[in-house]
Symmetry: C2
Subunit: 324 residues, 2 copies
């Protein structure tokens, strides 16, 4: 399909696309993405994690195969596959090591995909590739040193330097939800007391309000009530902001980033979260440089775009967004 004259400098043709799949606990975001980071087609599929990890793997591969076929039918050339999954992900070996949501235990997802689709495949961690997408194409563009923080049911982060995320020795870097902020605080799902996730995730906000108010509420409702001036909600919201600021101050001491990009469900509160969080973080900066604190720009597409960028990196496509 692709004539030599139509190929770009890095050996990619202008009809080339990568197949990208971002696997979440409930849904899969899937796309065909061109080498310049543009989504040319997107689909969503349910994960149905309750079927067990083998069935989920089969769905991932079937969906990816379908997207590659769709690309070919449209006259495009699928050159690689990028898959993002949650949990602990060994990107170097292409193995989904562990996932609470989906039940992965040492699944060699990359090799399985290569065997089925015959395409070069990159496996990544959902938050880390989301951070790569925000750093290269989104709210962290041009910053060089970026911390992407996703605050939803859980809390995780990606430290991205010059467009690449820290993976860690075992694929477990960036567990920002499991840093200590409140030694006397509630026990986290991980088993330890005082983790940031146990006091400042969207789930923790709802739980804390319910405990104090005696009636359930989502984090979004707590945010609304706090904005409306309800004292209890305002107190829970401020406690959340303070815990997040403590966590970010710790991360800044270690990473010294230029920009913190805040995404995830809780960030949908917008300025109601970011304005007080910025002020609280500023109070905590002593000799350190304060990072810019900005909302994520790519929404829930970040993981899928990041999976695509990982796939493009894997086949050596030059980055369209340059280093700082």
């Amino acid at each position: 399909m692709t004539e030599p004259s139509a190929r770009l400098a890095g050996g990619v043709g202008d009809a080339d696309v990568v197949v990208a799949v971002d696997v979440g606990g409930t849904g899969m975001k899937c796309a065909l993405v061109s080498p310049d980071g543009r989504t040319v087609h997107s689909e969503r599929h349910p994960t149905e994690a309750a079927r067990g990890p083998e069935a989920v793997v089969d769905t991932i591969l079937a969906v990816a195969e379908g997207l590659a076929g769709k690309a070919r039918a449209d006259g495009r050339n699928p050159v690689a596959l990028g898959v993002a999954v949650p949990g602990i992900v060994d990107e170097a070996r292409g193995v989904a090591v562990w996932s609470a949501n989906i039940g992965f235990r040492d699944v060699p997802l990359r090799d399985l995909a290569v065997a089925r689709l015959g395409l070069p495949t990159a496996l990544g961690h959902d938050v880390r590739v989301g951070g790569v997408a925000e750093a290269r194409l989104g709210a962290g563009r041009g910053a060089g040193h970026v911390l992407f923080v996703a605050i939803g049911t859980g809390i995780a982060a990606a430290h991205v330097v010059d467009g690449s995320a820290d993976v860690g020795a075992h694929g477990a870097a960036g567990e920002f939800g499991h840093i200590l902020v409140r030694p006397d605080g509630p026990r986290c799902g991980c088993g330890r007391p005082g983790c940031l996730e146990a006091v400042a995730s969207a789930a923790a906000v709802g739980r804390r309000y319910a405990e104090l108010a005696g009636r359930p509420a989502t984090a979004a409702e707590v945010a609304e009530r706090a904005a409306a001036g309800e004292p209890l909600a305002a107190r829970v919201w401020q406690d959340t902001v303070d815990a997040l600021a403590d966590g970010l101050a710790t991360a800044q001491a270690l990473f010294d980033v230029a920009t913190v990009v805040v995404g995830g469900g809780l960030a949908q509160a917008g300025a109601q979260l970011l304005d007080p969080l910025r002020a609280a973080l500023r109070q905590r900066m002593t000799f350190h440089r304060e990072p810019a604190l900005v909302p994520a720009a790519l929404g829930d597409e970040a993981g899928c775009l990041g999976a695509a960028l990982l796939a493009l990196d894997a086949v050596g496509v030059p980055r369209t967004v340059e280093k700082r």
Copy 2:
């Protein structure tokens, strides 16, 4: 001096050396180091920081000039200079941004050295280059992902991946002493309460014991008394170990390293520190992989060797210690 036939693959001759200077608050460790990381000559000089930063800079340059002259007199060829300083160091621009000990404020040390010595010069942060030396030549050798932690009067760290340290956006990465571990704890020198340095540095150990016992003691004396079974000293020691373990658990959540190398004055307690610290860290690992916890191998030479490695990197000498 150096004939083409005597030059190695990377363009270094076998008579080539780099000049390395590690500037501390009280003393400067200085050396001539060969491309294979061997110290061929070493000197120590007082810093005399009370004279002010300009006089210190002049001493650094005079000492480096003297070492380059000594190398030439010995038939060696000084090819580059590496200087390590404490505080906030912008390695990319070669600027000593800020130092509490020495009073540096935006000193363009690299350019000053180039102007005076005419040698390619690299400026680094003392703990970060020490971490690079431990990762490439010392206790972290072969680990790939290393956290070097220096526990002395203060506490700092270097995150080293494949032999290079994270520097951060403003040269301030690795401030492990200023992560939050005890929100209700004593106020740190930096102005915030609860920093790790305020509860677990050698200075903090001595201070805490003195408060409780009503008589002064050094951290080394507290360690000795704890080993001898004195209940008060044992309690202070255990509190220190617990705070360090909390800090390391936070760092491991974010970095996911293979090996933690512990150096600095407090680490001279050896197994008395590392054995209970290893046990306490293990207790705090839930879904995370436990890093190996090992004592530093290079002692107070780490910073000087690291300055030499930075200089060798700057002139493109191939690493004698390979990536993992």
